[in-house]
């Protein structure tokens, strides 16, 4: 509703802009306006393919130069020693490990075992702590692995039930892993400040953000677009938080709205803030990237399972029905009784379909 009013209010100014797509489509379409980074990175072809093609017949000096460098690179690429073992920091983002790949060595190499100074500990974490080394608490990696697998299972099951999974990591540098995890798990991401009240006062803060109705195969159903107006904002079914210390407000709101949470609990954090703690180091970006990647992979498996079941015509969750969608959100009655003759005529074929 708000979105449509906005369209009316600003349509004149927008008409003045010479855009190719009609304004109505921009405001009323429920498709994401652009493909996200996540979708874009999946493509396997070389992104510079087009440019290289264009420089087959170089015209300008810059094109010639680029072509020359490209040729040189191709020519000398295979010369020299071949490095067999090298560390690839991007690998953990591009191709994160699966929950079944969790090993203690992997966690150790990512530095997830390093806690905080002993003076900063939260005694509730004593059961996750293995010992003290150089005045720093060392987190027990077998516990981390067990809790991480448990959390991964939760993410997978929630994804398989079509739940909305929100990945939150608001520290500097966690953006890419968060976006990647959300992309893998078919979830949602937040890498900047959590706006307080997004759950408790959702209509005000998220009311203008677009939503869509999809079928079990995740295809959009545009005929229900009109029914989305004046609906309350969507609440996540599971929140994965990489830095619970900074996101106290988010976790508090999740508690108020009764949303289960998964969080990385360092030795100075309070483990009761989250439903499923993962005791690990939350200050190492490599560690958080690893954990986010694993949870993302788990979500990916869940989504895959859900879509496969949907292709067979089954769902693990109770889908929303057309009648439920057509209920007037204020009166709780169907549109037929609330609206006039026209509404009746419109909704008649829909009910038949059910």
């Amino acid at each position: 509703m708000i979105v449509r009013r906005f369209g009316v209010r600003h349509s004149r100014q927008l008409l003045a802009l010479s855009r190719r797509s009609p304004i109505s489509s921009r405001f009323l379409s429920t498709e994401a306006p652009i493909t996200t980074q996540a979708e874009a990175t999946v493509e396997s072809t070389n992104p510079l393919h087009e440019v290289v093609q264009a420089t087959q017949n170089p015209k300008s000096l810059a094109q010639k130069q680029f072509r020359k460098e490209e040729q040189q690179r191709n020519k000398f690429n295979k010369l020299g020693s071949s490095v067999t073992e090298s560390h690839d920091p991007e690998g953990i983002l591009r191709n994160p490990p699966r929950p079944s790949d969790i090993t203690l060595e992997l966690l150790l190499a990512a530095g997830t075992h390093l806690g905080h100074s002993t003076s900063r500990w939260n005694p509730q974490n004593s059961r996750y702590i293995f010992g003290i080394r150089e005045g720093v608490h060392i987190i027990s990696l077998d516990v981390t692995a067990a809790y991480l697998r448990r959390a991964a299972k939760v993410v997978e099951e929630v994804a398989a039930r079509g739940g909305i999974i929100l990945f939150a990591g608001t520290r500097k540098g966690q953006k890419r892993s968060i976006v990647r995890a959300a992309e893998l798990a078919g979830g949602y991401h937040i890498f900047e400040r959590w706006i307080p009240g997004s759950l408790t006062n959702g209509q005000q803060i998220l009311g203008h953000c677009e939503t869509k109705v999809v079928n079990a195969l995740d295809e959009e159903l545009p005929e229900f677009k009109a029914d989305l107006a004046d609906r309350s904002s969507i609440k996540p079914d599971l929140v994965v938080c990489l830095n619970p210390l900074e996101n106290v407000v988010l976790l508090h709101e999740c508690g108020l709205n009764n949303v289960p949470t998964i969080g990385i609990i360092d030795t100075d954090a309070d483990p009761t803030r989250v439903t499923y703690p993962i005791p690990a180091n939350d200050d190492s970006l490599r560690g958080t990237n690893l954990i986010a990647g694993i949870l993302g992979r788990a979500g990916e498996a869940g989504q895959k399972r859900r879509l496969e079941m949907a292709r067979e015509g089954r769902t693990l969750y109770k889908p929303i029905t057309a009648t439920e969608l057509r209920l007037d959100p204020f009166t709780g009655q169907t549109a037929q009784t609330a609206g006039g003759e026209q509404a009746k005529e419109q909704s008649a074929p829909q009910t038949k379909r059910e």
Binding site: L107, S126, G131, T275
Partner: protein, 261 residues
């Protein structure tokens, strides 16, 4: 319940209660997931893992035909622990800690060498065999000596710490010397075939120091001049001063005598 907030742990119970009372019309999708995979009991305190220093040694016994492996457990302090300390984590200690400390106390400059601490898979240790000091894929450093010494202590019969240290150290020095010779030969070869390495760090440092010294000299000369001029302006006309300087200290003394009179 005191300060502990159990809201997060009780999400499922709350959802079921809300559904039963009619506050929510539909159970959330996650309810059975949380039921099947319950949250961990985060509030139960366990006795933390207790760590003891264990030493492995091999001893020859005149009665036995083969050397025997002996595990020495460090004597624990019998001091009774306070009940409040029962759940506190304890210090982790390993045998090589002491070896490492000793080595780096004797060779502090080994700490100044660059060292790779990054691991990709965390399984680098699988490639290491400390029956020899050199390892594939690992640069020779202080840690090599420590690990080699530990291996000797654990695997050679009747090995003492100082003997193991001497063996490991000797191997280390030999390899370091070899590295040094290799580097020098390589540099000589390169120079013979026309390479130019430019000034060394020492030469660069000396050059910078010389520059600073020259600058200081210029500055000092200027300062001296300024001070001279200031002194002149305080005492009188410059010509007079020039005369005085030419005449020497006697004239100044005479002048002073005149003013006194």
């Amino acid at each position: 319940m005191g300060k502990i907030n159990l809201t997060a742990l009780r999400v499922r119970q709350t959802a079921l209660n809300q559904y039963a009372s009619g506050k929510i019309k539909k159970l959330p999708q996650w309810v059975d997931v949380v039921g099947e995979i319950p949250p961990a009991e985060a509030l139960i305190r366990n006795r933390t893992a207790q760590h003891q220093l264990v030493r492995q040694r091999i001893q020859t016994n005149p009665e036995a035909s083969k050397p025997q492996v002996v595990f020495e457990v460090q004597e624990k302090r019998r001091k009774p622990k306070k009940p409040s300390r029962l759940f506190k984590p304890v210090e982790l200690r390993y045998e090589e800690d002491q070896l490492r400390q000793e080595f780096f106390r004797d060779h502090p400059w080994e700490l100044a060498r660059p060292r790779v601490v990054l691991e990709s898979s965390g399984k680098d240790f699988e490639n290491h065999d400390w029956s020899r000091i050199q390892q594939p894929g690992k640069r020779l450093d202080g840690e090599s000596v420590v690990q080699r010494q530990l291996w000797l202590l654990n695997n050679v019969p009747d090995m003492t710490k100082s003997a193991a240290y001497d063996i490991a150290r000797r191997e280390f020095y030999k390899l370091r010397l070899k590295e040094d010779i290799q580097r020098r030969v390589a540099a000589e070869e390169a120079q013979a075939t026309g390479a130019n390495f430019g000034p060394t760090y020492l030469e660069i440092g000396m050059e910078l120091e010389n520059q600073q010294h020259e600058k200081w000299k210029a500055w000092a000369r200027m300062e001296a001049q300024v001070m001279d001029q200031r002194a002149v302006s305080m005492s009188g006309a410059p010509e007079l001063n020039m005369d005085k300087e030419a005449e020497g200290p006697e004239s100044i003394a005479l002048d002073e005598g005149a003013t006194e009179q």
